[in-house]
Structures are given as structure tokens and as C-alpha cells.
């Protein structure tokens, strides 16, 4: 990697989004800062492996998630939220405008979620990653990502807008997106 794309340039360009990602993953400022620093430390050691500078952001996000998974191991990673009971459709939102969401409450909801659902939600709402990008980050098929996102969103609605829950006729079973990979369910 040339000096023009040196590590300092990477830090300047990506430290803020990495920190936000780390914060949403880990739930605390201290862990988020450690993860962000360690990510760049690791990037320094493996800078020669970064062949495409335009992929740097995805590369750094991937490093950060791996560090996080390594840290929390199995204890923190798997949570006992029964997503199965929610189905995968967000309930139809009411016609009145949604109240502003408290970022702290959102974090509590994320903390209680299994990492396999938390990560795609965070990446999705950061809006810079396509479904395909998220699938690559997590090493899962794109259909799995879409399925987890649908269920993760339903969970967020359930947690953040419980008063808006109401009986809503379930739609007939979903069919596959034509031209896109099959939507699958659960862990591959």
C-alpha cells in the first residue's frame, strides 16, 4: 500500500464510522474505543493484504467484527431472544407519525439481540452497505442476511413501539425474490 493511502489516511477517513459501529456492537464507549484502536493496530500489521484501497472500509469493518467476536466469545454472542415468536414482518405501522427513538433504548434492544441478528441490523441502518456487502462481511448467503434483517426489524418494532402492536393479518407465506438468491431462514 502506497503512502498516499497510508494508515493515517485510513484513520482519518474511517475512525468515526468504525467507532459508531463498535459502539452499537459492544454497547459501551470504552469497549467501542478499544475495538476501534485495536482495529487500526491490526490493520497496521496487515496493511500489505489490502489490495483494493476502495474496499478499505469493508475490510476495516470486518477486522473490527472479528475482534469483537474474539473478545466476547460465545458467552455474550448468543442471546435468548425468541425471534421465532415474532415472525418476520414488521407490523404495519400506525398512520400517526412515529415518535423519535431514544438511541439509548435502541442500544438496550440491540444488546439483548443475538450477534447474528445485531450485526446485519447495524450495517443495514448505517446505509452504506448493500445486502451483498453485509453477506460478505458475515460470510453468509445474501438470503440469510435478508431473512435475519426482516426478523430483526420485527423485533425492533416489538421492542421500541410496543404500543403500536396490533392484530395484523399475516400475509401468505413469502415467495423467493425473483432474480435474487433464495430467502432462507436461520443460520446456514
Amino acid at each position: 500500500m502506497s503512502s498516499a493511502h497510508g494508515l493515517l489516511a485510513l484513520i482519518d477517513a474511517h475512525y468515526e464510522s468504525l467507532y459508531r459501529y463498535a459502539y452499537r456492537l459492544s454497547g459501551t464507549p470504552a469497549d467501542a474505543e478499544d475495538l476501534t484502536q485495536e482495529t487500526f493496530g491490526k490493520a497496521l500489521a496487515h496493511l500489505s493484504q489490502l489490495r483494493e484501497p476502495e474496499r478499505a472500509k469493508a475490510w476495516l469493518f470486518r477486522i473490527l467484527r472479528n475482534l469483537y467476536l474474539h473478545k466476547v466469545r460465545d458467552s455474550q454472542r448468543h442471546k435468548e431472544i425468541p425471534l421465532e415468536s415474532l415472525g418476520d414482518l414488521p407490523q404495519r405501522p400506525p398512520d400517526d407519525p412515529l415518535p423519535e427513538i431514544d438511541p439509548g433504548k435502541l442500544q438496550q434492544a440491540l444488546n439483548d439481540l443475538d450477534e447474528t441478528f445485531r450485526t446485519p441490523l447495524i450495517l443495514f441502518y448505517f446505509e452504506e452497505f448493500s445486502y451483498r456487502d453485509i453477506a460478505e462481511q458475515m460470510d453468509v448467503p445474501i438470503g440469510t442476511v435478508m431473512s435475519r434483517l426482516a426478523r430483526g426489524k420485527a423485533y425492533l418494532r416489538h421492542r421500541l413501539f410496543p404500543s403500536h402492536e396490533r392484530d395484523h393479518p399475516r400475509l401468505p407465506e413469502a415467495k423467493a425474490v425473483s432474480g435474487s438468491p433464495q430467502v432462507t431462514d436461520g443460520v446456514p
Partner: protein, 243 residues
């Protein structure tokens, strides 16, 4: 497209991107245009996504985080370099020790001249001149910004110059043809020098500009005429250096 298909695809539509493919997106749009029920559902789902996205990104970033990361990385770089040098040293140590013992001049107190280490430092400078300077500035606890955007590729030296009997940090830039140079002296505001009322200087072939900043005074000495400094900056005018 029918309502049940539209409702299915609505789950994955996104505000800014079309990830469902042109065919599905077109059909979905046409359906939403003539079906108020699905259109309302679409609006509500997008509003939900927007609200979550806003909250998701509302994470305040600590103001000094960038500097802490830079320091962390600089420290780690130093450590990595020392490990490399240590390994090199260990690999030649046995032979060196034997030779020195044979010559009876072994001394454990004096640092040894280490050409390998000096070569590796030069390598470092060549490969990442910006890091080379930035890390040095961080190590000296000096601001990492200089008064101008200098072209790091032109750095030939950084270290200390004797100025009126005191050591002063200096960065030296040299033009590719080797004829002209610019020296950036960094005077800390630590009371060692009297820095009241400083003015630019001018000699027959060199100029000295003064930049007073909150943490340090920079004196930039350069050759090549009144516009000679331009040759060392990244935003120098195209079509060759000024003379």
C-alpha cells in the same frame, strides 16, 4: 404486480438504493402508484427505517479519539520496528559477540553502530514518508499539522539542529533535482527562546518565513526565490515548480 407480492417486496425496499433489481422495482413502483393501501404501507415502513437509522447513527464520537488512535498506532509501529530490529540483532549477535571477544574490545555499555537499523529506518522513510514524519512529530509531542500542506515525498531528513546552542526539531525537504531545500524549524513555546515580535528574514539566496501558532512558532527557511516555498507544497501550481 398484486398486493401480496408488493407487500412481500416492501420488506426489503430501501430509501436510497435499488437492490431488488430493475424489474421488481419498476413493477413495485407501478403498483404503489395505483394502490393506496400498499403505498401507505410503503411510506410507513420507510418512515420506520428512517427513524431507526437516525437513532442508530446517533453515537457521539469522543473529540480526542482520533489523536488517541494515532498515538496508539504510532506506539505500535515503534514496537513492531523494535521487534524487527531485535530479531535482526539476535540473529547476528552470536557472531558479533565471538568476533568482539576475540578482539577483546567487547563492551556492554556502549551502543553499537547498527547499519542494519539505519537501513531499515531509511526504508521506512521511503515507503511511508507521511507516517515517518507524523509518527516522529507525535513522538516529539509536537502538533502533527504544519503551517502548509507539505509534500511528504520530498522529505529528506527530520531531526534536531543546533540553533544558538539549543537543539531545535527540524524537518528538511529537498527538491527532486537536489538544488533547493526548505527547512521547517519548530520552536516550542516552552520559554527556552525569546519569541516576541518575530519578523521574516531574507538573505541573498534564502528566505525565512515565521508562523506563530498557539503551540509553536514555525520558522520556514527555503531557497529558490520568493516563491521557492511553493515547490515543496502539495497544492503547488501545475506546469512545474515556481522559480
Amino acid at each position: 404486480m398484486e398486493c401480496r407480492d408488493a407487500q412481500f417486496y416492501l420488506r426489503w425496499q430501501r430509501h436510497a438504493t435499488d437492490e431488488l433489481g430493475a424489474e421488481v422495482t419498476t413493477a413495485l413502483r407501478q403498483h404503489l402508484a395505483q394502490c393506496p393501501v400498499c403505498a401507505a404501507e410503503s411510506q410507513a415502513l420507510l418512515a420506520f427505517d428512517k427513524a431507526i437509522a437516525r437513532a442508530m447513527k446517533a453515537v457521539p464520537v469522543p473529540p480526542a479519539l482520533r489523536d488517541r488512535i494515532r498515538t496508539h498506532v504510532a506506539t505500535q509501529r515503534g514496537a513492531r520496528l523494535r521487534v524487527q530490529l531485535y530479531r535482526t540483532a539476535v540473529s547476528v549477535a552470536a557472531a558479533v559477540v565471538l568476533v568482539l571477544l576475540g578482539l577483546s574490545i567487547f563492551s556492554s555499555t556502549r551502543p553499537r553502530v547498527d547499519p542494519q537499523m539505519l537501513a531499515e529506518l531509511a526504508d521506512d522513510q521511503l515507503h511511508r514518508p507521511d507516517d515517518y514524519i507524523q509518527n516522529w512529530l507525535i513522538a516529539q509531542k509536537l502538533p502533527t499539522e504544519l503551517p502548509h500542506q507539505f509534500d511528504w515525498e520530498l522529505v529528506t531528513h527530520r531531526g534536531f539542529d543546533d540553533v544558538q546552542g539549543l537543539k531545535v526539531p527540524v524537518i528538511v525537504f529537498t527538491t527532486p533535482d537536489g538544488r533547493d531545500f526548505a527547512k521547517v524549524y519548530i520552536f516550542r513555546k516552552d520559554g527556552r527562546f525569546d519569541m516576541r515580535d518575530l519578523h521574516a528574514g531574507q538573505a541573498s539566496r534564502a528566505s525565512a518565513d515565521v508562523y506563530d501558532t498557539p503551540h509553536a512558532v514555525y520558522v520556514i527557511v527555503y531557497t529558490g526565490g520568493p516563491r521557492g516555498l511553493q515547490r515543496f507544497l502539495t497544492n503547488r501550481p501545475p506546469g512545474g515548480p515556481a522559480t
